[in-house]
């Protein structure tokens, strides 16, 4: 196990220096009153540059990204992150601009924002976007706030509930709760789709809206979407689109044409920006015309040949983030859309669906597939067959690590027991998919012949399985000097 950076501390070894100041340099105690000055020690590490570089390089070798290999994490859309986009976001003209510079000194950035709003509106079939939210869940939060503000503005105070299907991402009910709504769960039917009867029976004039992911988390397109929209709209509610799975229909169909009123998109999923080990992402929120006034401000507008931020939006829910959103991420997504163009985006969506269906077809002999029919960008298998030998989904996931793959999303969605959610994305070659199929078949054989081998996996990772129970019961969440661990 590599040492922690703090265990490499050598006082005096750090060689960082500033240029000569050429200005007076009195003691801080003479220039800042003592009541504001720090007494307690900092204890930050002191390490030479070369050892620090080696430290972080070693940590990187113990991480696994899309550039390392196959990453079929369902609902996360781990597609290839084009390298030109990284270059672009680091250009001084993007990375070196301050958010409060005068607008006429950042016309390039504002043009990019404006075009991005327009392009996202075209791709999703909505009428306008705000690029402010910093992540998918943040976009959801803004979207649900828009729904609340809309009903409040119409003085319809009785709408205190939001409906969410039982297959939804965990952030959906959480977002609704955080905005102060009560959550009503809608059941899925035998086919893995929203149960229309259940939806009708729970729909009242207290419902502010329904949050839906389409294709849903089972990778299935909600075929009754128009009827769902009608049920929601006739009851006076709004329809929210969770854009996490937009890749499955990109360029082929648009949420805006299906009756959705509010949407967020995940630029770090659908539009090829890297996930960064957990972030930063970007979650622009889009709406239909009747909700444009409620978008988080500012919105970028074009006046003649000039681009401006418009803050004059009296009904706006306000700001949800400092400044204007995760600009650096938006630059990368802009470059992605420009690179692919109309045809390329459609091809990406098509190939994502082709790859998913190809994998589903190739895995069906060895794994149980609860809903084995045409899927979109992802599908669910489980370990029902392997359970006969006591092998769980968790063990199959861990065994995949031994074979150099990142495991799929596991134990989600909650409505399928022992679920493995597989999303290959369009940027995987057939050879790579075939290798994965072979690995999965090998694991299925191992599960039958030598279940212990699978159940104790991983064997080749840098560590064995970890003691999560102790981690939670007796949390050690920071290093402390002198504390033996």
């Amino acid at each position: 196990m590599p040492k922690l950076i703090f265990e490499k501390n050598v006082p005096g070894s750090n060689s960082f220096s500033l240029p000569p100041g050429q200005i007076p340099n009195p003691a801080i105690s003479k220039t800042i009153p003592a009541q504001f000055l720090r007494q307690e020690a900092l204890n930050l590490p002191e390490i030479s540059e070369v050892e620090a570089v080696r430290h972080f390089t070693e940590l990187s070798t113990r991480a696994y990204g899309v550039d390392n290999g196959f990453y079929p994490l369902g609902s996360c859309t781990m597609k290839y992150n084009p390298k030109i986009n990284e270059w672009a976001a680091r250009l001084p003209g993007f990375a070196g601009i301050h958010p409060y510079q005068p607008e006429d000194t950042v016309q390039g950035a504002l043009q990019l924002y404006y075009e991005m709003q327009e392009m996202l509106a075209e791709i999703t079939g909505m009428d306008g976007f705000s690029l402010q939210p910093a992540a998918g869940a943040h976009g959801e939060l803004a979207g649900v706030m828009i729904i609340k503000a809309y009903h409040q503005q119409r003085q319809d105070a009785k709408r205190t509930k939001i409906m969410v299907p039982d297959s939804a991402h965990g952030t959906n009910p959480a977002s609704a709760n955080v905005v102060g709504f009560e959550v009503i769960e809608v059941k899925s039917n035998q086919r893995g789709l929203v149960d229309l009867e259940d939806l009708r029976s729970k729909m009242t004039d207290e419902v502010a809206g329904l949050m839906l992911t389409n294709p849903n988390t089972l990778g299935l397109f909600e075929e009754d979407i128009q009827e769902i929209a009608t049920i929601v709209h006739e009851a006076g509610g709004l329809l929210y689109y969770d854009g996490a799975n937009l890749n499955g229909i990109m360029g082929v169909a648009r949420p805006g044409d299906m009756g959705f009123d509010v949407i967020h998109v995940n630029l770090h999923k659908t539009f090829g920006t890297p996930h960064g080990g957990g972030g930063p992402g970007s979650g622009p929120v889009g709406v239909k015309a009747q909700l444009l006034d409620f978008l988080p401000k500012p919105i970028t507008v074009k006046q003649g040949e000039e681009y401006r931020f418009n803050y004059d939006l009296p009904l706006s829910i306000g700001k949800v983030k400092n400044f204007y959103g995760n600009f650096g991420v938006i630059v990368k997504a802009y470059a992605y859309i420009k690179a692919l163009g109309a045809e390329g985006l459609k091809e990406a969506g098509q190939h994502a669906v082709l790859n998913a269906n190809y994998l589903r077809h190739q895995l069906r002999d060895d794994y149980h597939i609860p809903l084995d029919r045409l899927c979109k960008h992802e599908f669910i298998i489980n370990s029902k067959k392997q359970a006969e030998n006591g092998v769980t989904t968790l063990s199959i996931a861990k065994r995949l690590i031994d074979y150099g793959n990142h495991p799929p999303t596991i134990y989600f969605p909650l409505i399928v027991s022992e679920a493995m959610m597989i999303e290959p994305t369009e940027t995987e070659s057939k050879e790579r998919l075939d290798e994965f199929v072979q690995t999965m078949r090998t694991i299925a054989r191992e599960a039958a012949e030598n279940p212990e081998l699978v159940s104790q996996a991983p064997h080749k990772a840098v560590i064995k399985r970890v003691d999560e129970v102790t981690a939670a019961r007796k949390p050690v969440v920071k290093w402390e000097a002198g504390v033996k661990i």
């Binding site: 750090n14 100041g21 200005i23 007076p24 009153p33 720090r38 930050l44 590490p45 540059e49 620090a52 390089t57 940590l59 990187s60 991480a63 990204g65 899309v66 781990m78 030109i84 990284e86 672009a88 993007f94 601009i97 301050h98 958010p99 000194t105 950042v106 950035a109 706030m145 965990g170 952030t171 955080v178 082929v252 169909a253 890297p274 960064g276 080990g277 972030g279 930063p280 988080p296 829910i317 306000g318 400092n322 400044f323 690179a339 692919l340 163009g341 985006l345 190939h351 082709l354 790859n355 190809y358 077809h361 045409l374 996931a397 690590i401 995987e428 003691d467 999560e468 981690a471 939670a472």
Partner: protein, 437 residues
């Protein structure tokens, strides 16, 4: 450019395996009337060379702080980024990875987060830090929500209007939930009005907030508010700037329960306002209540030290409809940049940077005095102050004409920030332009 590796003969072969003849058949579950007839109304894709040109042209239309000395701060600061940091952030094992849900394959990222959490605790003096939030403003909103949850239903959070105005706007937006009522107390002479704050803190108060340094760069005496809010058994929340903590009293020393801040100065570029880094740290008793991911240390089956995401019962994928926060994706790469930054400058370097920023500001104040200009507020400051000018917009235009990006425009003043990147010569020019008749 296309990033799809399968050429059309391979696509045909895969379709054949599925018993299909065209890609369109993969979408037969979507009714024809819902499918795009004409395709998207977007231009054709670009080659990499065309794309490069387009992006370079757009970037070239922005004045940038690489070419122009800038005195803008107001929540985003132009600090130097060590070259080693910029190189290491391009290790794609880091930036193309997902959240480390599978610990066996993610130890490097988990350890880096553990180290980051430790450094945030070292800076703030707190017991626990999370793996990051979106930015300073939304982190403060999360903190205020937490105060309300922690108080079991109290809604009132008292805050001074000397806090960053965008933070106040974000709080107002989050209060749409109906579970948070923000009471904004007008400041006096650029700092919080302690008397007003104390009058507003009562038995219905869930928390009170102080920002240090505040929006105007000034130092706030947090002690009276800390005492008053703790007398009501409510939470004392501080929003702090991380580099200043090398010199300034830590939030722990002020008695804070919960600390948030904008971590951008620690290794993130200005980037027109994002992505930045929201950090949050707390006293031990709030460990199981704070939002966001937390990495804990444990051991593997062989007894080897290992790291894992822990205390996940707080998060939305367990409690779903009861979660107090919905945060999922955070700013992990910016957190990694922060721990790299603190490592590359080291403790001594951080103190030198903070000291230089402060001294440059003091030097500027003295030079402005020499030309008959004065500060709007006569209060102790760290590295930023409001300089009285008659027409701030005109002053900024004049500076720009002289190749300088000026300050943040207040009603009758320019808020000027000084980082270690600024030089004596640049400050002399600034003073000459603003002080010139």
């Amino acid at each position: 450019m296309r990033y799809t590796p399968n050429p059309s003969p391979v696509v045909d072969e895969m379709l054949q395996t599925l018993g299909l003849t065209s890609l369109e058949e993969l979408f037969q579950d979507i009714k024809p009337e819902l499918q795009l007839k004409e395709g998207l109304n977007l231009p054709a894709g670009l080659s990499e060379m065309e794309l490069r040109r387009l992006l370079k042209n757009l970037a070239a239309q922005n004045l940038n702080t690489d070419d122009y000395p800038s005195f803008l701060g107001a929540g985003a600061y132009d600090h130097y980024l060590p070259a080693a940091l910029e190189q290491l952030l391009l290790r794609s094992e880091f930036y193309t990875a997902y959240t480390p849900y599978q610990p066996e394959i993610s130890q490097g990222i988990l350890q880096s987060i553990f180290e980051y959490q430790t450094m945030i605790c070292q800076l703030t003096g707190m017991d626990v830090a999370n793996a990051s939030l979106y930015d300073g403003g939304s982190a403060l909103a999360e903190a205020c929500n937490l105060a309300c949850v922690n108080s079991k239903g109290k809604k009132k959070v008292v805050i001074s209007d000397t806090v960053h105005p965008e933070y106040l706007e974000i709080l107002k937006t989050y209060s749409l939930s109906g579970r948070l009522e923000v009471v904004v107390v007008p400041g006096r002479d650029g700092i919080a009005d302690t008397t007003g704050m104390l009058a507003a803190i009562d038995h219905e108060t869930a928390g009170a907030v102080m920002q240090q340094p505040n929006f105007y760069g000034l130092l706030e005496d947090a002690a009276p508010v800390e005492k008053a809010v703790h007398d009501q058994k409510a939470l004392f929340i501080m929003a702090v700037e991380p580099i200043s903590l090398a010199l300034l009293k830590s939030p722990a020393e002020w008695g804070a329960d919960l600390v948030v801040g904008e971590g951008q100065p620690l290794g993130s570029s200005l980037s027109f306002g994002g992505p930045y880094l929201g950090f949050m740290a707390a006293r031990k008793n709030l460990m199981r209540k704070i939002p966001g991911r937390i990495v804990g240390q444990t051991s593997d089956l062989d007894g080897k030290r290992a790291y894992v995401l822990t205390l996940q019962a707080r998060e939305q994928h367990i409690r779903r409809e009861l979660a107090a926060s919905n945060i999922c994706s955070n700013e992990a790469l910016c957190a990694l940049a922060a721990s790299m930054y603190l490592t590359f400058v080291g403790e001594q370097g951080l103190k030198e940077i903070a000291t230089r920023c402060h001294h440059l500001a003091r030097y500027a104040e003295q030079e402005f005095q020499k030309v008959g200009m004065e500060l709007k507020y006569k209060q102790p400051y760290f590295c930023e102050f409001a300089l009285k000018v008659k027409d701030p917009a005109a002053a900024n235009r004049k500076l720009l004409a002289n190749g300088i990006i000026g300050g943040y425009e207040l009603d009758d003043a320019l808020l000027l920030a000084f980082t270690e990147k600024r030089t004596k010569t640049e400050i002399d020019q600034l003073v000459a332009v603003l002080g010139g008749k």
